[in-house]
Symmetry: C2
Subunit: 421 residues, 2 copies
């Protein structure tokens, strides 16, 4: 629009000069005023915020990350800015996936990969995120439009494809393996499944089992009033095929269930809650705080939130799952050693002062979990149910410190002694 | 913009005719092409969806209410369209209030009243709803802009004011009492408090106690990882002054805590979950399904959801609360009679068939709450903890039907007999 207006201004100026002696100058002047007013109108259309180089904790109204960086100050997250190093894939940009994408975008995630094959319809307007003016766009295009306006710092990759087709599955798996050129040596860190049918879930399960990729599943019931989230670590927890849902369509193709004239109910509330619980667990997993729930249900009629844990099924029908289970069992000695090293390291470094020496909030907190490790005890806390495959740097035993060197001469003498031995 | 373009087209046409014989027609033709292109650009800017007269359950992509009306078909809600009769006030359009407003708007609530005194800043972008292009607008104006685009069927009233000032409080109370000219005889049905400080909560509490107005409270902790919602019915449950928070600022003005250089953390996840739980409870309360939670906490570090119930405090410091408590005690006989009538009515009408005779989903459901009233048992179910102040129409005893009149003559005879007695 700016370009059009510029061209018009130029042409009018030429006309005005040519016509100066012909008595039509007044008309031209009026036209020029119209162009000026149009320019004003064009300027009032939305402009995007500029990108932000580094996340700052500075408390000013113009800082989009101040309230997130405050999580460090509050003792919740050790290094919030590391969120920029993570890539998250979201499969299904519907009532749950779109809100999950918006939450991660507003949190400043490094890279988001979005997958959907559907288009936006007015029938989607009873859930958050999509707007009536986006009707007819693909859900991925509409999502990229909205998300890039909200936070231009996030790298967005979108795939308008159906992962349940052969071609779609290949592209899906390749995209999960690909490293981003704009980010350091990272493939996808976490996959969030936000699809609405059994077949698509089984496809995500297959891809993640093959890639040994940790993922989180989510779902909302057909009657709109309950939902769940679940953490799936290939080989370590049950995969989606290990424990199929108790209730599935019996003897009919699932797609025919969604036939003409019949539709499932949905509510923005249930989907918002499930998306919130899902992304909260994703943040806990990526940023290493709190406990990642292995499974969390939401029954909205009674506000009941069941939890459970599911071990892998040694008779699982998925071959890749069985392979991951074997690997997990083989790695047991390394895991046990890592746990022992960590426990020893913790025991020897049990000298911790208060976290907030300067109590600037004048708030007194009663710790009701004395003896337990609290969430502020971040240094080497991994979410419950997760262990490091290799001992972490701070997990090496500290009880027997090696020799300490006071100066270079001393160091040289020690080296000579070693060489002589 | 349309107007500007129209005026330009007209003027150019006049110029073209006047100049036809002077050899400048080509320049004018070019200018006319620019105008046409501008018109095309102007058309591609968002257009709003038209209003919908009646909520339809028809399953077509163009129906924004199909997935909500499906709640009736699924046996969750008896009369979904009654949502259009309700007015809900939301105090505080921040991280929780704005999302609550969007959820209710997408659900097609009748009327929303929005209160806030703040403006949108980039520092708000880590929570859902507001967009960077809205920075500088009042939160109420920005909310009305977004919400009216999403659903033009909702009546929006916004108040950019501080309810903790004397003038603001007066306007707030008056607005809660006012009936909408566009809706039948309804004042506000429910107040949702989504404010972020103790003082504002006490003000909402005062207003609701004075008006005997049921409200729901919500809150998110300063460290962003926990929150709660609470139902408050003046006289029946604890009011906000009956049980003040266990931890409050000690000996300092709360506002000075939010001083330069210090800010509370916040996450879109926690706020999204709290908003979802809040509006879900509001829907259950208004549309009479499920159980409304008296109090529900959300501890996101452990995915723990504590519940509790709080009775009013007979030593409450709030005079209006004590008055409501007295009224509630005085109304006990009427309540008991209503409950008895309801139980009797239920016993005498215990002939109910299966809800879904046509099991179009091929899904078999196991009822684990036999004997209890289930959520599909909607006819006269009120949320747990709520009782009707007056017996409802269907609560009158049905065992002893009054005389029935077959025709007008019979009616006249009966009246004469009564007069003669």
């Amino acid at each position: 629009m700016e370009e059009e207006l510029g061209a018009m201004t130029e042409k009018l100026e030429v006309l005005r000069r040519d016509l100066a002696d012909r008595g039509l100058a007044d008309s031209i002047a009026e036209l020029q005023q119209h162009v000026e007013r149009l320019r004003g109108l064009a300027k009032s259309t939305p402009t995007r915020r500029p990108k932000v180089q580094d996340m700052s904790a500075e408390v000013v109204d113009s800082n989009p990350y101040s309230r997130l960086m405050a999580l460090q100050r509050m003792g919740i997250v050790e290094n919030y800015e590391s969120i920029r190093d993570f890539s998250v894939a979201i499969v299904g940009i519907g009532g749950v996936g779109s809100v999950a994408a918006e939450m991660l975008t507003r949190c400043g995630i490094g890279r988001l990969l979005l997958y959907d094959y559907d288009t936006v319809e007015l029938a989607n307007m009873n859930r958050l995120f999509f707007r009536p003016d986006q009707v007819g766009m693909t859900k991925t295009d509409a999502a990229v439009q909205t998300l890039s306006d909200i936070n231009p710092d996030v790298i967005l990759e979108s795939y308008s494809l159906n992962i349940t087709t052969v071609k779609g599955f290949e592209t899906f798996v390749e995209s999960l393996k690909r490293k981003s050129s704009r980010m350091s040596a990272h493939c996808v860190d976490l996959v969030l499944s936000c699809v609405d049918n059994y077949e698509a879930r089984m496809v995500v399960n297959q891809a993640c089992n093959e890639l040994s990729q940790t993922w989180m599943e989510s779902g909302v019931s057909e009657d709109a009033v309950s939902g769940h989230i679940q953490l799936l670590i290939p080989g370590e927890t049950a995969c989606f095929a290990c424990a199929p849902p108790l209730v599935v369509a019996s003897g009919v193709d699932e797609r025919t269930l969604k036939r003409e004239g019949v539709c499932a109910a949905s509510l923005p509330t249930t989907m918002g809650v499930v998306a919130g619980l899902l992304v909260q667990n994703a943040l806990k997993y990526l940023l290493k705080f709190g406990e990642v729930s292995p499974y969390l249900g939401y029954n909205s009629l009674k506000d009941f939130f069941p939890t459970m844990e599911m071990k892998p099924n040694p008779q699982c029908s998925n071959a890749a799952c069985l392979e991951r289970q074997r690997e997990y069992i083989l790695a047991k000695p390394a895991r046990d050693a890592a746990i022992k090293a960590k426990v020893d390291a913790e025991a020897s470094s049990k000298v911790t002062g208060p976290i907030h020496v300067d109590n600037e909030w004048n708030i007194s907190v009663v710790d009701d979990s004395e003896g337990q490790s609290s969430h502020s005890d971040i240094s080497d806390a991994l979410p419950q149910g997760l262990v490091r495959e290799l001992p972490s740097a701070d997990g090496y035993p500290l009880e027997e410190p090696g020799p300490s060197f006071d100066d270079l001469d001393e160091l040289r003498r020690q080296l000579e002694a070693l060489n002589a031995a």
